[in-house]
């Protein structure tokens, strides 16, 4: 995980170029669908951020969570709660407060969950996720089961001068692209750090990590909080994009979907789950445009990918790089 394998780097740079230049070619190639696709791709990048954040837990630290959407949803709800009705929130207040809240809540949930492993961890995170769902579903805090609208995008100002107008779909698109690239680079930096190395080692052999003198629980907790907070950022952006939050954002369907993206993309690689978000969402768009019974072919598609690419999209790219080394066969 130190160096990005060449085929993966090529695919990611190509994707970045395609995303960055979309406004240039999009309006020429498909003028009718330009705005629709701009919205769609913005949404996919937000889901990709969430998938990468979940990969830190699932693929890298070995903590399979089914409650990750709770943090995604909480990030979104915080924007709704912090936005004055019919007025804009100040992003310099709303975003840090939203992320701090997600971090604090995830620290509590993490502290109560990380001592368990395997199925128990899945069940506990699922239970906490559902608690989050019913908290917003049943409370009057932000519209209960109906959800709440965010009528105006947050302002991005310094000393009264507007830096960015997020109401512009194009500006918002680039902000999300920046967040997507930023989250990827941030996670890669963290993985290369002393902290990240310990977390990766925990995913491989937790007991040995303990034997070497590290307390795995502390590192797992911090990884859990980092992953949750990045998911909170994705939720914040998602709420801003749609101008709406509802309890479904926290539901286990949402968690499950992120998990499918991680698995489809290739666990433990970061770039894989990001690509998984694009593959899954583009496939869904494709099937939706062909038939209204798209769930069936979609299911078959997911099964086919998992069967044909057991290590996901990332596994395919890694295979392209190294033909199996002959030396891998000798020894035990």
């Amino acid at each position: 995980m130190t160096r990005l394998p060449r085929p993966a780097a090529i695919v990611l740079l190509a994707l970045l170029a395609l995303l960055a230049a979309y406004p240039l070619y999009g309006s020429l190639l498909f003028p009718e669908k330009y705005a629709f696709l701009l919205q769609k791709v913005t949404g996919i990048m937000i889901l990709a951020i969430m998938a990468m954040s979940l990969d830190l837990l699932v693929g890298i630290a070995g903590m399979v969570s089914l409650g990750h959407a709770a943090f995604f949803g909480l990030g979104g709800y915080m924007l709704a709660i912090l936005s004055p009705q019919y007025e804009a929130a100040d992003i310099w207040v709303a975003l840090p407060l939203a992320l701090a809240t997600v971090a604090a809540v995830s620290a509590v949930i993490g502290a109560l969950s990380i001592r368990t492993n395997g199925i128990s961890f899945i069940m506990i995170t699922l239970a906490f996720g559902q608690m989050g769902y019913f908290f917003f579903n049943d409370s009057r805090l932000a519209g209960g089961s109906d959800g709440a609208f965010i009528y105006v995008m947050p302002t991005v100002e310094i000393a009264g001068v507007s830096l960015l107008n997020l109401e512009s779909k194009l500006t918002f698109y680039y902000v999300v692209l920046g967040a997507f690239v930023g989250a990827f680079l941030l996670l890669r930096m963290v993985l290369a750090s002393p902290f990240g190395r310990v977390v990766q080692a925990i995913g491989v052999n937790e007991n040995r990590v303990r034997g070497l003198g590290f307390d795995p629980d502390r590192y797992k907790l911090v990884a859990f909080v980092i992953g949750a907070t990045i998911a909170g950022l994705a939720g914040f952006l998602g709420a801003a994009q749609y101008g709406f939050v509802n309890p479904a954002m926290l539901s286990w369907h949402q968690s499950g979907q992120a998990l499918v993206m991680v698995i489809l993309g290739g666990t433990g690689t970061l770039f894989g789950p990001a690509l998984g978000a694009f593959v899954l969402e583009l496939a869904r768009m494709g099937f939706e445009s062909v038939t209204e019974h798209w769930l069936l072919p979609m299911g078959l598609f997911v099964i086919a990918v998992v069967v044909l690419l057991p290590k996901g999209v990332a596994g395919l790219l890694l295979q392209l790089e190294r033909k199996p080394p002959p030396e891998a066969e000798d020894g035990a």
Partner: protein, 255 residues
């Protein structure tokens, strides 16, 4: 506690019961600096369980463990490791998907006051790298630096097991059957390595291979069915009738 400075590790009536099975039964031993201490005994005697009690992998049912005169009974594994007891495992316990270097580097990194550092790449920690390189060198793995650990031969993985322990800069080495499952040539290489280590570190060695034990150990503890049969200088144990009867057989085959 122990006024005797030469004592590095001491157990007092250490006991571990798994339900009705008493795997380690009131075992009291003393390990001194500069006296490599071997623990022998038939399969199931409780040797690995005893090691697990020393290193905090299991909590004892009763009794105490003292390291440099300090009571470490019940401390968690990672704390005991940081106090300076380095432990290797009977069943190879490495990070098979990491390179040999990364296995050792991570072990060396464990000696930082904290690894809660998020920004600088871990591979730029020069002192940690140096310790890792040195441990690989010591264990004879320098040429394997960039190999994926899990693709190496079994013997080399056993060497890596030792290298990782060395990279943590321990004061006391506790090695659980470092020769387990090794071929003749691999064993010879490992014994040579252990001889070097016995000169540098305090050592507790669990081992079945009698040739290795007699060539390495100064002190010998014999365990049978969880109990300590005898403990003392190698020559004394060799001459002991009780040990002869219970374990070493008629002597000839022990050599």
């Amino acid at each position: 506690m122990s006024a005797d400075d030469s004592v590095i590790l001491e157990t007092r009536e250490l006991t571990k019961a798994f339900g009705g099975l008493v795997a380690v039964n009131t075992v009291s031993v003393t390990v001194r600096k500069g006296e490599p201490h071997a623990i022998i005994g038939p399969n199931g005697a409780g040797k690995s369980t005893f090691v697990n009690l020393l290193t905090g992998h299991l909590p004892p049912s009763s009794g105490r463990v003292l390291f440099r005169g300090r009571d470490i009974t019940g401390l968690p594994t990672h704390r005991i490791s940081r106090l300076g007891i380095g432990r290797s495992y009977q069943k190879t316990n490495i990070f098979p998907t990491f390179s040999v270097f990364e296995n050792c580097r991570l072990a060396a990194q464990s000696r930082l006051s904290t690894s809660m550092r998020f920004f600088r790449p871990a591979v730029t920690l020069a002192e940690v790298n140096r310790q890792a390189e040195q441990a690989m060198e010591q264990a004879g793995l320098a040429a394997r630096r960039d190999r994926t650990a899990g693709t190496m031969s079994y013997g080399e993985q056993r060497q890596l097991e030792i290298a990782m322990v060395l990279a943590t800069r321990p004061e006391l080495l506790v090695l659980d059957e470092p020769l387990a499952g090794m071929g003749k040539e691999e064993s010879e290489r490992m014994v040579a390595l252990l001889k070097g280590l016995a000169a540098q570190y305090s050592l507790v060695l669990v081992e079945h291979d009698m040739d290795a034990v007699f060539s390495l150990a100064a002190t010998l503890t014999v365990m049978v069915n969880g109990t300590l049969l005898e403990s003392g200088p190698v020559e004394q144990i060799r001459a002991s009738q009780a040990v002869q009867d219970a374990y070493l057989g008629d002597g000839a085959e022990a050599y």
